[in-house]
């Protein structure tokens, strides 16, 4: 890759990704409203929310909260930039994991019971999805011969026909990361439940805007990871279409499911997710069956 190409992809990653993420969140709200028989907000509603939050008077419960909010955003942007530069997939996932740890530490640095509660639940969510994310790299690596994302591009053929079991496991993990029903355990879209807004309860004004911006980056990064499964070949545009289709399916499940308990989530994620990946490695990569 030439230097110009590298600089271009970094600029797109930092500037275009949040715009796409914000629009996706807006479309999410619009579609959800239509599914519930409502008109819903305009699709640029989340940009209004973000600007409004940035213009509010800063209030913090403690300085560590600030550090962790900025760290969360900075680490997620780092992960997105690494992804855009086609670096090591495992490193991208580790940075994402560290970013989520920052969110938890920010929540736990405040004494509010709702924030603490949300922080503990976020840890449980990480317990559920992190093993899937990390283990999903193994079948990809065995297929393409290395951890770098560039290898997937050089592999020459789509991964999905061989690794569709891993793909399903990843979809489960991503649904948990996105905190959509039935996995909206650590924080919920609407604050009516017992945990108020969970991990983000104590963030307000501009700091809530930082967290929201980080969520936009995170959403696009997660969808881009799904896109990796069909990124080459003549049907390369499927790498955009497949993540969007999956995102739409997750949106429907979000609307038809209620929140379930964390123990169910961990059992589901480990039971189904990890077995799918194990099966994938045994059948496809090692050729046992």
């Amino acid at each position: 890759m030439s230097t110009g190409w590298l600089v271009g992809s970094v600029i797109i990653a930092v500037i275009a990704v949040p715009l796409i993420g914000g629009l996706l969140r807006g479309i999410d709200r619009k579609l959800t409203a239509h599914m519930q028989g409502r008109i819903g907000p305009p699709i640029i509603q989340n940009f209004y929310d973000l600007i409004k939050l940035l213009g509010k008077k800063p209030m913090v419960a403690g300085k560590p909260q600030l550090v962790f909010a900025y760290a969360y955003l900075a680490l997620i942007i780092t992960a997105v930039v690494f992804f855009a530069l086609r670096q090591d997939l495992l490193v991208v996932l580790f940075i994402l994991c560290f970013a989520c740890v920052c969110l938890v530490l920010g929540a736990l640095s405040v004494k509010s019971p709702y924030s603490q509660f949300g922080g503990h639940r976020e840890l449980l969510q990480m317990l559920a999805y992190e093993p899937i994310l990390f283990l999903a790299v193994i079948p990809i690596t065995l297929k393409t011969g290395g951890f770098p994302i560039a290898n997937i591009f050089e592999y020459g053929q789509p991964l999905l026909p061989n690794l569709w079991l891993t793909f399903i496991a990843l979809v489960i993990a991503l649904d948990i990361v996105m905190r959509k029903s039935p996995f909206d355990i650590s924080s919920s879209e609407h604050a009516h439940q017992e945990l108020v807004r969970g991990v983000i309860t104590e963030y307000s004004g501009p700091y809530l805007a930082i967290i929201e911006l980080a969520h936009w980056y995170e959403l696009v990064l997660l969808l881009a990871i799904l896109g990796l499964f069909w990124v080459v070949g003549s049907l390369w545009w499927l790498s955009i279409l497949i993540p969007l289709a999956i995102w739409f399916i997750l949106l429907i499940t979000d609307n038809i499911c209620t929140r379930l308990t964390w123990s169910w989530m961990v059992k589901f994620a480990w039971g189904i997710g990890l077995s799918l990946i194990a099966l994938n490695i045994l059948i496809v990569n090692l050729g046992w069956i």
Binding site: R38, F47, H192, S204
Partner: protein, 146 residues
């Protein structure tokens, strides 16, 4: 109108606090948030968290026990913030105005921007009150940040 003002008007997040009373006004507040009126199309969300809220909806009679809670909620909201008092009890104490424990009016505890009278007011009146409160954001004098 600047982008920030426009965004503030387009994205009011509500916090509803019931100081006490008969629950009539609360039912009307909740009714105004149902899909029938679909307030989310104006960006209005019932956020249930003072740290995220822009507008505080207060119903019911304030008394000496819950005035601390009311003031606490108000102080936790980051500026610019607006208060809408809903119903006769929140405005003046209503039928409880003679009771010894009643403080007659929310405005004796926190500054109120819009008064919505009625016992209880209709959901349409409550929505009107919120929209009227947003008008206040357009005039820079009332914006605490200016």
């Amino acid at each position: 109108m600047g982008l920030l003002t426009r965004s503030r008007i387009k994205s009011p997040w509500l916090l509803h606090y019931d100081c006490g009373g008969c629950n009539g006004c609360d039912i009307e507040v909740v009714a105004s948030l149902t899909p029938l009126y679909d307030l989310e199309r104006f960006g209005i969300v019932n956020i249930g968290n003072p740290k995220h809220a822009d507008i505080l909806l207060v119903t019911g009679t304030v008394n000496y026990r819950n005035k601390r809670v009311l003031r606490n909620l108000y102080e936790q909201m980051p500026e610019p913030r607006l208060v809408v008092a809903i119903g006769a009890c929140a405005l003046t104490g209503g039928i409880f105005h003679n009771a010894p424990n009643t403080i007659c009016g929310v405005d004796k505890i926190i500054p109120v921007d819009v008064y919505v009278p009625g016992c209880p007011p209709k959901p349409e009146a409550i929505i009107d009150g919120v929209i009227l409160a947003l008008e206040k954001l357009k005039t820079p004098n009332n914006s605490p940040l200016s």
